[in-house]
Symmetry: C2
Subunit: 312 residues, 2 copies
């Protein structure tokens, strides 16, 4: 029976699970709802992780899982990590311990095989971590939508809405009004306050789309967002170490990422995170007590290719 | 029987009601919860206004009310102002029509007897209005805590919390940690997200208090807040017209107001809003069909004194 390695990546919006065999071939994959213990509570987070794990394992034998690792958003705030990892093991019905990492560690490992460097995760939120030996050594940003996250998807969406309120007739303004299904800019305010604040991140793709059409306002918002993200990297990175870009804003093509790469042109090597769930599976393989025979962190992927299925 | 004039000022947090007689003498006063129809709904807002009116009238005869005016937060978003005013009249049990004004108009009238000028209301939120003949002609800011309100009490409180998270050992940082009853800066984030976002405005007075003790961080936050408010004024004001400062941040002594006055030193005359409920009562008197005998907008007060009871 082939040994299997189960990797999970749990973000605020989505949880991804991947099963690799010892040769690095993908044997299963699944997507479930977000599993951040800060937002969902520890019990809810374990339940969603277990859903993703069970779906990825499909008809495979959980008893064949020789290693398992989880990259978890909300890791820092988790009070009892040992208990959480043990609850995961029980819920996944596997015999091997579950290794728990901050989501920054799996995102970093999804972009480089180096042991130390910096990872910028800019999706709905924005945070930058300097990672060393599977731990977060330094950290900037990540204050959330209420307190910061400048340059994040939330921030881009909020700037788009502010712009549309002031200048409803430009490309970006019209796109925002259309998205919000309102006719007059004053109606944008009730729309903004009617839902959960993080909903403003829905508007971030409109910045991308209209910037691609050359809209000067969208380009200005994107450039300012990139400045914020570059400042986050500069506050966190250690000179000469690699930088990994992850998340829908920093890790996907678009004007923010393009400008960010320009601003960080003097930085060392920059790569893009591939699939953090697969990276978690590889970390599990590398840490497997079976040793050398297990899947190493480099197997089955091109570092920095950013082309892994399911990335972003 | 003496004729009475009823004035109300309805904000997001508080509703104030004042009864003046035709000589301008105060005959009643009351405070009730906020009555913003955007937040409370029209029905809830009318109910709270009626509570305040009834309490201010006390044992006085509502039939003696010869004029009534309400300055209303959320006026702009109110769909049917005629119906709202008529519901107020019925709920107040008075025979005279209720004049409805934006809260900016009553705040402006509480600071000057001029017909046209600018009023900056910076309390929990921040908005600037150019007022002319009892109407708002131009408007800036007022986007609310989620979208803007830079320089407002919410913004000052959020900046104080951000600073405390980064620098917990300064005067301001320690004051914030103490207010939030937490020991470590990381605990400030759960505190911030646990309550309604506007609760961050609670921290604004800590900026005032520690700035008064010379804390450089608090002084820097206050100075940046004042820059934002001055920009709002410059975007709105018409040259040469008077400026009225209102609200707990702009209208009360403190480092933001002090810096704001420096920044606007080249502006025309600047005064401080007194009591907007009394100003509403005077507007009602001035508009009274009884004409010249009624309480005029200048009676019973020193314009710009900012010393009226219940101001701020």
């Amino acid at each position: 029976m082939s040994r299997l390695f189960l990797g999970l990546d749990a973000g605020g919006s989505w949880t991804r699970a991947v099963v690799l065999d010892a040769e690095g071939a993908e044997r299963g994959r699944a997507l479930a709802a977000g599993a951040n213990p800060t937002a969902q509570g520890a019990e809810g987070a374990v339940r969603r992780l277990a859903e993703a794990a069970a779906a990825a394992l499909g008809g495979l034998d959980p008893g064949a899982v020789a290693g398992c690792a989880v990259g978890l958003a909300g890791y820092r705030a988790l009070a009892d990590r040992t208990a959480f990892a043990e609850r995961c093991r029980a819920a996944f019905a596997i015999g091997t311990p579950v290794l728990l990492y901050p989501d920054a560690v799996t995102a970093f490992a999804a972009g480089t095989a180096e042991a130390a460097g910096t990872v910028l995760i800019a999706g709905t939120g924005a945070a930058c971590s300097q990672v060393s030996e599977r731990q977060v050594a330094r950290f900037s940003g990540g204050l959330g939508w209420l307190l910061g996250d400048e340059g994040s998807g939330f921030w881009l969406g909020r700037e788009a809405l502010r712009h549309a309120h002031a200048e409803p007739n430009g490309l970006l303004g019209r796109a925002v009004l259309r998205h919000c299904a309102v006719e007059r800019p004053e109606e944008l305010l009730p729309w903004a306050y009617a839902g959960p604040p993080r909903r403003l991140a829905q508007l971030a793709p409109l910045v991308n789309a209209t910037a691609a059409q050359g809209d000067p306002a969208a380009l200005a918002v994107a450039a300012e967002g990139a400045e914020h993200l570059a400042a986050l990297v500069r506050a966190t990175a250690v000179g000469g170490e690699p930088l990994v870009l992850a998340g829908s804003v920093a890790g996907s093509p678009g004007p923010v990422r393009a400008r960010l790469l320009e601003l960080l042109a003097d930085h060392g090597p920059i790569s893009t995170a591939g699939d953090p769930a697969a990276a978690a599976a590889r970390l599990a393989g590398a840490a497997s007590p079976d040793g050398t025979g297990a899947l190493g962190p480099d197997s089955g992927r091109s570092p920095g290719s950013g082309k892994s299925p399911g990335s972003g």
